[in-house]
Amino acid sequence: MTRITELPTTEYVLPGNRACAGCGIGIALRVVTKALDGKMVMTVPASCLTVLGGMYPTSSVNVPWINVAFPSTAAAAAGAAAGLRAMGKADDMTVLAMAGDGGTGDIGIQALSGAAERNDDFIYLCYDNEAYMNTGTQRSGLTPAGARTTTTWAGKRENPKDLPRIMEAHNIPYVASTSAAYPTDVFDKVAKAREIHGLRYIHMNTPCPSGWSFDPKDTVRLGKLAVECGIVVLYEVEDGVFRLTGRSAALAKAGKALTPVAEYIATQGRFKAMTADAVAEVQAWVDKRWAGYVARERAGE
């Protein structure tokens, strides 16, 4: 695992950008671009990332970037990859599709599934901030149960869909789950993905101070707490072989009880209206999922 002092010092995300203070995307995008040495072209749909990228005529990111329509991120990446191949430039740069949870798991899932089935040659990174944050915190298919959004005022009733598992079912060469709170974990997974051909999918939990209603200073602390609770699990599936990574691997190895989800839930305004029963339901759901991951880790599949 790369250490922080081993991360490249070249910066591709520029200061003075338009992202909210404490936005997890910025932490992650810095190491994503470092892992690709800036030799990349991004396809980006309408999203918080567009805001970070900035308004014409100035860009806040020092890598090639193509803005694309909301449902089209994966197809746009497939087109860029095909175009670069046709132009004999495919070796010059990695194509990186990067979209939020709504852009990936809701409106973008058709194009993503098609590209995954074809095993098109690009990295798809979903930054999952668990709702439509750029439009004002509406619920997405990846919003957790209990979260109040501007379209689930009493708290969302359903658990989020498990997008990395959906992507696994496409039998692509690389699927990973990571968190913007662990920049070196993000870096290592993107660096590994860079060396693989075909569709590589990385799902990245990305805390959002404004949408989740917490103090911006806590972006990293809450991201890590989600991992401590087993709500977010760091893992990768390489050619069908599953393994926990980083802190999640250490937690599984230690074998002790995880931090109760109630601790995580108590940190965020979006969960304020949750009842004790609702919290218990989330705990049961998390326990079951965690047990599943640990079993997979042991079985290595």
Partner: protein, 103 residues
């Protein structure tokens, strides 16, 4: 304006202006507590790695660019040695660099 001009941006710092303006609190790094400063080598740099805005330059101690630092306070939160303190801005507006930096 060329007939074939398209909307295509060039990279620059400060697309959103001097985002230091957004701050309510500004970070101050205590060199006597910062492990990199104390050891006189590029070690730790956890604050640098976790800054969402690339406003911290690696150093002994790391140096924070207060023109653009939005004051989120993540650096202070992640510092394992509590070497960064968030101090209230006296008034809104871009702080003079002299107010920040190393104390």
């Amino acid at each position: 304006m060329s007939a074939h001009e398209i909307s295509m941006s060039r990279p620059s710092v400060g697309e959103a202006g001097a985002t230091g303006d957004w701050r309510n609190e500004y970070p101050v790094v205590a060199a006597e507590t910062c492990v990199a400063a104390k050891q006189g080598k590029i070690t730790c740099q956890i604050c640098w790695a976790h800054c969402p805005d690339a406003c911290i330059a690696q150093g002994m101690p790391p140096v924070i660019d207060l023109t653009y630092c939005k004051g989120c306070g993540i650096c202070a939160e992640v510092c394992p040695h509590h070497a960064i303190e968030m101090r209230p801005e006296a008034a809104h507006g871009v702080c003079a660099p002299a107010e920040g930096g190393v104390k």
